[in-house]
């Protein structure tokens, strides 16, 4: 029920990772593995779209933080977009809104990351 699914598209030089469903300890490792793989493969701009995420737990936050750390070490950019409702609330509760590069919409994020307009 509402298991995590990970989608991937590209907009110019930006790799967009779309997450949907729940991200908890059982699925957070998949997110971390996918993002680390993209960074290791040389991606320089990664946008994680959280618009379809139902909720996330501390394990998910750790996965995103580890990926952000890894991106910084490899001079890549990792940003998040479309935080809505309960997901945004959780970022606020954890005091993590300032820790990540967060954009309101995919379009805003692509402008900042230097890619073309969202399809």
């Amino acid at each position: 029920m509402n298991a995590l699914s990970i989608g991937q598209t590209r907009a110019g030089g930006v790799c967009i990772v779309t997450l949907s469903g729940r991200i908890d300890s059982t699925s957070a490792s998949d997110v971390m593995a996918e993002l680390t793989r993209l960074i290791s493969s040389g991606e320089k701009s990664i946008l994680v779209d959280l618009g379809a995420v139902l909720y996330l737990t501390s394990a998910a936050f750790r996965a995103l933080l580890v990926a952000t750390d890894e991106a910084e070490r490899r001079a890549a950019k990792l940003a998040l977009c479309n935080l809505a409702g309960h997901v945004r609330e959780l970022f606020e509760m954890g005091g993590l809104l300032d820790v990540f590069a967060i954009h309101n919409s995919r379009e805003d994020a692509l402008k900042q990351l230097g890619g073309p307009r969202a399809p």
Partner: protein, 565 residues
């Protein structure tokens, strides 16, 4: 807070000066109607014309201070909304009783006691919310609406207890005044709608003067009137009587409920997404009410309360700006020192009062009904509201028969609003027996199924008609705890108990106590180890629940997540 579409000037906006002044005048005109209560008291006390003028002026000063107290937005005092003040029938019964027993000094002294009761109740409102839910506040508002409508009809038609006949002149004035207000409110826009009541009242004054109903000379002091005059407090003194504590406490409780209802209504008018009242604002409003009542008692006035009609007026006109409240306060303070204007308001023709009361009663009554039905009414609430509403109406229908009850109960049975309020509070208390519901689920060891827990809580929340946002937070909390405790050897037991105001989740397992830090872990701590992730989990739990505790009993651990509903 989402702005409702009909609002022209919202609570934090300041209208242009001309609109501000005319809006304030309109409210002043409406509030001045309630000077009838200190006037009744003055007449019963046989005050001389000059003492009468002093009492009216000091009552206006009380209105000025009260209006400012209600509107300010501080931590301890003030609702932060345009919430008008007015003298109220709630305190009239106890005040007349006090007048009989010990004169005006006892009225003023016991009024101070009533104010102190309200100030004492204000910080406890959140704890007492189960006893004073918003549907009871809605009931109080609806009953006030009915009472205002009844008064409006009586004044508008010139009916008095002595003479149960319609006065045709009064009917003409009230009819023209009411039609003016209604037409402007429904079929006009802009200034016409905003100032419909004021324009209707001015029209009423003019027609009254034409028909000889407006009689200013009857209340002007023998020595004439000076334009500016400092009101004297020679008639003011204070005394106390333990016998009167009970009626004044009941009146204060009813006034508190009305203030809660009015402030909730003001919040609702300003927020299209309103679901439940903001208690900080309610407590500020009630403490402001208490301070205002104390002030009125000290300067020689009678009990004051929030005024449902002004909330109805602000909803009808779309002007809910707090600045209007300050302007009203300043206006009344100024009027207290200008006797000619004070007397013009005090001499407002009865049919004009009737039309304004009847017009605003429509908005007050429907606001009360909306507050009652904002939450789902189950059988318990239906009976609480239905019985209490009926009792409030019965008290007015069978007023004579109810005067037979013992003296100590007179203040309760002698006033429909007080009887309805007491009935609602007592019935609500009784109906809470067995209201708490409890369910539990045991998760066996060997692979804790978090999805099953999520499904269980979601379905239970739907059965309880619990708020979705609260259930979502609770589900997050449980899943987060389960994630951290892993798969303990004896499994996990989850117990959820719910009533309308509280959701408590108890999680029991055998294992280590979860750390719930007050300090947010740094991103570095979270990234570097899984212990950092556990700290983040504990921190998220502390932030998402309204209260969280964890106890160790030998090897077993019990965590309690509490959510206000």
């Amino acid at each position: 807070m989402t702005r409702p579409p009909g609002l022209i000037y919202a609570v934090d906006e300041t209208p242009p000066r001309a609109i501000l002044i005319v809006s304030a005048l309109q409210h002043i005109g409406l509030m001045a109607i309630t000077l009838i209560f200190p006037i009744i008291l003055a007449r019963e006390a046989n005050l001389s014309r000059i003492q009468f003028l002093d009492l009216i002026s000091l009552s206006m000063l009380g209105l000025g201070v009260a209006n400012i107290c209600f509107c300010i937005r501080t931590r301890l005092i003030g609702s932060g909304y345009l919430c008008g003040a007015a003298y109220t029938a709630i305190f009239l019964g106890p005040s007349l009783f006090a007048l009989q027993r010990g004169g005006l000094a006892l009225v003023f002294g016991m009024t101070v006691v009533g104010g102190i009761v309200q100030v004492a109740l204000a910080p406890l409102l959140h704890r007492l919310r189960a006893l004073l839910p918003s549907e009871i506040a809605g009931l109080v508002i609806a009953v006030v609406g009915l009472t205002l409508a009844g008064l409006g009809v009586r004044y508008g038609l010139g009916i008095s207890p002595q003479q149960q006949k319609i006065n045709p002149d009064y009917m003409i004035v009230a009819g023209i005044s009411l039609v003016t207000m209604t037409v402007l409110n429904v079929w006009s826009k802009g200034y016409g709608r905003m100032f419909c009541v004021l324009i209707g009242m001015v029209v009423g004054y003019v027609v009254s003067a034409g028909l000889g109903i407006f009689d200013l000379a009857g209340i002007v002091p023998e020595g004439g009137l000076s334009v500016v005059r400092l009101p004297r407090i020679q008639h003011v003194g204070w005394s106390f009587d333990p016998v009167l504590v009970a009626p004044f406490v009941v009146a204060s409780l009813a006034a508190t409920l009305r203030a809660m209802g009015d402030v909730s209504n003001a919040q609702r008018i300003n927020d299209a997404d309103w679901v439940r009242p903001n208690f900080a604002s309610l407590a500020g409003g009630v403490s402001a009410n208490g301070v205002a009542v104390i002030f009125c008692g000290l300067v020689g006035g009678c009990g004051i309360n929030t005024y449902s009609s002004t909330i109805g007026l602000s909803g009808a006109t779309g002007v809910t700006s707090r600045s209007v409240g300050y302007a009203i306060g300043v206006g009344f303070c100024a009027l207290a020192f200008i006797p000619p204007l004070a007397l013009v308001l005090a001499a407002m023709p009865l049919p004009v009062m009737g039309a304004a009361l009847f017009f605003t009663a429509a908005f007050v009554f429907t606001s009360g009904l909306q507050m009652i039905t904002a939450r789902m009414l189950d059988a318990r609430k239906t009976l609480v509201i239905g019985f209490s509403f009926a009792m409030a109406v019965v008290a007015d229908l069978y007023h004579e028969a109810l005067t037979e009850v013992p003296n100590v109960l007179q203040p309760i049975f002698g006033n429909g609003l007080v009887l309805g309020t007491v009935c609602a509070v007592v019935l609500n208390l009784i109906m809470r027996i067995g209201v708490r519901q409890q369910v539990s689920i045991k998760l066996p060891p060997g692979g804790i199924n978090r999805e099953a827990v999520e499904r269980f809580l979601s379905e239970q929340g739907a059965r309880w008609a619990a708020r979705r946002d609260i259930m979502r937070r609770a589900i997050f909390g449980v899943v987060q705890v389960l994630e951290v405790v892993g798969d303990p050897p004896g499994g996990v037991e989850i117990e959820a108990s719910f009533d309308e105001f509280d959701l408590d989740i108890r999680i029991r397992y055998v294992g280590a106590l979860l750390t719930i830090p007050e300090r947010k872990p740094t991103p570095r701590e979270i990234v570097e180890s899984e212990q950092g992730e556990r700290l983040l989990a504990g921190y998220l739990l502390r932030q998402s629940a309204d209260c969280i505790t964890a106890h160790e009993n030998g090897a077993s651990v019990e965590m309690l997540l509490h959510y206000d509903h």
